[in-house]
């Protein structure tokens, strides 16, 4: 006998993650000679979201493979600084400004496969875990839930995604999470269904 307890969903606009990555890459470039500034935004950010053993190493491998790109500080300053919305606005109007050197370098970065993998990993992971959060009990949501305790793998035979949270499952062995993902261009969508078996 199984009973559906809750359902959760989330929609993610991928350029938001692109903007975060681009913003930090540019900042790193500009602060390359400034040893007193910290350059760990992406490491900290991704460590919060991704599972330390199952997801983070893969992400870091791609992140470290991102090719350098050229950007001059004055070009950045003239583009409205580092805010995410300024970045997103620029990303959505790239074709109109393709003669701008800075814009061209951003476009090049977006085409970089390692960059795309990074964005994909982050956005998919975030999307799933946000949907998952919504199906959990309120008291677990408040204390006990962490993004980085969970990870997604795909069934080797069917390719279907599976969500695993080892600590949670050890305490709630009769619960199961069914998940599904969908991608379309700049959007990722996920749905999570929480089901309980009466043992």
């Amino acid at each position: 006998m199984s009973r559906i307890i809750a359902i959760g969903t989330d929609l993610v606009f991928k350029p938001r993650f692109e903007a975060i990555l681009l913003r930090t890459l540019i900042k790193q470039k500009i602060n390359a000679n400034n040893s007193s500034s910290s350059n760990q935004h992406i490491l900290r950010f991704s460590s919060r979201i991704l599972h330390p053993l199952q997801e983070l190493p893969i992400f870091l491998k791609y992140y470290n493979g991102i090719q350098n790109f050229i950007v001059s500080p004055s070009a950045v300053a003239s583009q409205g600084g580092f805010t995410n919305s300024a970045m997103i606005k620029m990303l959505s109007s790239l074709n109109a400004n393709m003669d701008n050197e800075f814009v061209r370098s951003i476009e090049q970065m977006r085409e970089d496969t390692n960059f795309k993998h990074c964005v994909s990993l982050l956005s998919t992971s975030w999307c799933l875990k946000e949907a998952l959060y919504k199906v959990l009990d309120p008291n677990f949501q408040k204390s006990g839930f962490n993004f980085k305790d969970w990870y997604k793998i795909n069934d080797l035979d069917t390719g279907k995604p599976i969500l695993i949270g080892e600590t949670y499952t050890s305490k709630h062995a009769n619960e199961e999470f069914l998940i599904s993902l969908s991608h379309d261009g700049d959007y990722v969508y996920s749905v999570v269904l929480r089901q309980k078996y009466n043992l």
């Binding site: 935004h41 900290r44 919060r48 330390p52």
Partner: protein, 140 residues
């Protein structure tokens, strides 16, 4: 295990003494060997290694203004969600930016529960560790 790796990454030694905040006070027992002569030379009137609430708030506001905030008037009572208009992704991003600014780590429990700028400021004050100072030239 990974937690240890990220922690050690964040405690990087400063390789330059920031001109405006040179400090003679040792910050760890290990550093007592490296007590510099700077206090005599720089004639400090304020212990620059400890931050005040105003410092932290001012720097936090500076960091937060780099995000797309609903209002430019950011105070201790500003709520991340209602006043600044952050959703959970923005809040995460903003918290990490604050971690970068002050080289602190917000633990998971706090990160889940934090609601206002003031709470973050208080956490930073409670957990701030001033950067390690380099050896004074005369002692090397």
């Amino acid at each position: 295990m990974f937690r240890l790796v990220t922690r050690s990454l964040s405690y990087r030694p400063a390789t330059v003494i920031r001109a405006a905040t040179a400090v003679a006070r040792p910050v760890t027992p290990l550093a007592t060997r490296f007590i510099s002569q700077s206090a005599i030379r720089f004639n400090l009137s304020q212990d620059a290694s400890m931050l005040t609430k105003e410092d932290v708030l001012a720097r936090s506001v500076q960091v937060l203004k780099g995000f797309d905030v609903k209002t430019q008037d950011i105070t201790m009572d500003s709520k991340f969600q209602q006043d600044l208009g952050f959703d959970s992704l923005d809040a995460n991003d903003a918290l990490v930016a604050l971690e970068e600014e002050f080289d602190v780590v917000f633990d998971d429990k706090f990160a889940n529960e934090v609601k206002t700028v003031g709470e973050a400021v208080d956490y930073v004050l409670a957990n701030y560790i001033p950067p390690q100072q380099t050896l004074d030239r005369a002692l090397r």
